[in-house]
Point group: C2
Chain length 242, copies 2
């Protein structure tokens, strides 16, 4: 069975957390809206979103089609893939811990998004720039250090060592943390230059994930989309006071 | 074993989604910070948050202590409780669907919070009132109808009938949806008066949950905390244009 990933084309966005899991797992998938042609592209994505026959409709992309099953919500997709493809522990308490980390990463990602869109996702950045300046100041000054300090402590306290966030092997939460670190460096280079020395384990985790055979091949491929100012991690110099 | 729920005292907040599940399940639990005395209250909550020996620390309340296991993130706690206490289906695809609904409810709850705190959770409402006016206009005009329309469609499309969000029995997602409807009516009475006629199934779901024997007893008890303007669902007349 070939998985079908549905996500907005042109940005890594939340779809990237799913792509990284699919790539590391080495499974067969198609990134539907990223391609054109019959049954592909935006028309295929919109057809799924507007399909009134779907008993379990997703609220928004990303969603994953696995045979007849359609699974929405990034962290939920990873919960599904993690168990099936060795990207999460089998034991229940450990599996919940990895999921808890993923949900906290999701909270951080939502705050990154709102740092440039604090008023409305439906308005342009320029229409909420004044508010974004205020929110980004709070984000880079207060919230981001709190999140990074938390994840650094999680690595430090891991009884199995500080190679991975949970247990003694890579999980989908590590893949997502890699993406978050890469995104933060793109969006807030000055801020991250200031903060990163305090979080050496997170920087090492980023490099450890990037060096995985399959991740490395993926990052060098055309399937990997660069960060840009249409996505979640955006670089606006004025929001990156440093 | 008695569960220990840890959440900020004085507000229903995100803790309420867990309380409703514990109450409907009829299990033994203590709402630690809601009580005073030895080992209780804010000191007990802060001691857990600051416990550097915790290998799996929560980022923020609510979290649940189940024996030696500490579980954080509201939706993750419900995932744990749902399976253990008959508040979610056993079958994997159905269980993921309920969790997906819960994560979408969590997204809505975060947007409710940000409607009065669009700039920083660490600032007072009055310090971000101008921005809140803009965000709440978008929330009540665009986002809220989209969320409510989604959940109404989920009820309508449920192959087992429109009594519950998923399948043919109550799940923790129904309990949470009840709380969201109650909270929205408290926070945005004029807006909800305008919107509710379009979502009759959601209104009926609210009443169906409220009539459950254990939920009814809970709502009438002192354990149930009223909504207030310190929580997530706050009533500011100026944010409720209707």
């Amino acid at each position: 069975m070939r998985y079908e990933l549905y996500y907005w084309p042109g940005i890594p966005g939340r779809g990237e957390f799913v792509r990284l899991a699919l790539e590391e797992a080495g499974v067969d998938y198609v990134d539907v809206a990223h391609h054109s042609g019959h049954g592909m592209g935006m028309p295929a994505l919109m057809a799924m979103l507007e399909n009134a026959d779907l008993a379990c409709p997703p609220f928004a992309p990303p969603f994953l089609k696995a045979g007849e099953q359609v699974i929405g919500q990034t962290a939920n997709i990873l919960l599904f893939l993690g168990l099936r493809h060795g990207l999460a522990p089998q034991e229940e308490a450990a599996r919940l811990w990895v999921h808890q980390l993923q949900l906290t990463i999701a909270d951080l990602v939502a705050e990154v998004h709102d740092s440039h869109h604090p008023i409305a996702a439906g308005l342009y950045y320029d229409e909420q720039k004044a508010e974004a300046l205020r929110r980004a100041t709070d984000f880079t000054g207060m919230r981001l250090p709190r999140f990074l300090g938390y994840f650094e402590a999680v690595l430090e306290r891991n009884p199995h060592g500080d190679s991975w966030l949970a247990g003694d092997a890579l999980t989908y939460a590590d893949l997502s943390m890699f993406q978050v670190m890469a995104g933060l460096r793109y969006a807030f280079p000055r801020t991250m230059k200031r903060l990163e020395p305090d979080y050496p384990r997170l920087a090492a985790l980023h490099d450890r994930v990037a060096a995985r055979t399959r991740v490395k091949a993926y990052l060098a491929s055309e399937r990997r989309q660069p960060f840009n100012n249409e996505g979640i991690f955006r670089h606006y110099k004025e929001l990156d006071a440093g």
